[in-house]
């Protein structure tokens, strides 16, 4: 199977949030990297998981499928899933696929953590 062309780094955000910084391509082949990042972010006390798409270079429909799978995992654990750093192009894809109705999109990290 082709290698994932993405790096995902998990760090602490404010207010018991974990931030996943995404750098590269989100395709079906990054399932392992994405689920590892989610597992690292899924710590006791985590309230929100925030995806930073500032380094997103490419996304295909397989990648959108992985995001909805991550969303379900987050909902099952009671975590709020939010995102920021999307360019206008990727915001439109979230809107087209209606993922933006389930994953809150924000302009910056502070707003994504606050959920406002």
């Amino acid at each position: 199977m082709p290698q994932a062309q993405v790096a995902m780094t998990v760090r602490d955000g404010a207010d018991d949030a974990k931030v996943i910084d995404i750098d590269g391509e989100i395709t079906a082949f990054c399932e392992g990297v994405m689920m590892d990042a989610y597992t690292q972010a899924d710590q006791p006390g985590t309230k929100a998981i925030v995806l930073n798409f500032g380094g997103l270079q490419y996304m295909n429909s397989g990648g959108i499928g992985l995001l909805v799978t991550m969303l379900i995992r987050a909902q099952r654990k009671g975590h709020r899933l939010a995102a920021y750093g999307l360019t206008e192009h990727y915001r439109q894809i979230f809107s087209l696929t209606r993922l933006d109705e389930a994953i809150g999109l924000y302009d910056d990290e502070a707003a994504a953590i606050a959920g406002s």
């Binding site: 909805v68 087209l96 209606r98």
Partner: protein
Amino acid sequence: MTEERIEPTVPADKANWAPHVERLAAGGVNVGGRRLNGPQQGFGPMWQKTYKVRIPGVAPERVISEWKANYGSFWPSHSRFNAPVAGIQPGEVGNIQSMQVLSTGIMVLYTDDTSFSFMTPEGHPFAGWITFSAYDDGGTVGQVQLIIRPSDPLWDLVFLFGFGKGEDMMWQHTLRSLAAHFDIRTEPETNLVKVDKKRLWRNARNITKNSAIGSAIHILGTPVRALRRPS
């Protein structure tokens, strides 16, 4: 030293995605005027269904090119796919007729050299995405992956009582036909994962757009439409 990211003027995947639409403009019965539904707009449990077939010796790009060109011909005979005139291109709408009675459709959400995806409109039996892909995994693999929920309570019941199994058979048939197109006789692998067992009751009202009900009303209305047609 600070590394500065330079945003490309046109995103690399811009031409691969359908343009944004609120509602489908084109399409037949149960398609035109409908919104698109992802899995989170559906009702029943969410499934990730993956079907794979090995097609050794054929490049993934060639598998996808042939798949796009002959898409409907790989389907079982009880279902018909009327491909968009422009072919499988982002934003195009295809109509589906199943068992002579059920009319629905899909919109082409995404395409590239090694994959293409469809998204379903309101009323379709399931809400979600279907991705067709080919990739090298020690030899070429052709794959269909659905991330879906039954659209409404009626379709949820229908899935429970056999439609889900019928859908598995349909995609297995499709992959057998795809492999046979390249003179390969083989059996597909199937992997079904229930990602979310919850029902999304907030979407129960989707039943008002149910395509089986819409198709029945359309069929019953045929004589009336014929009478109204100017002679």
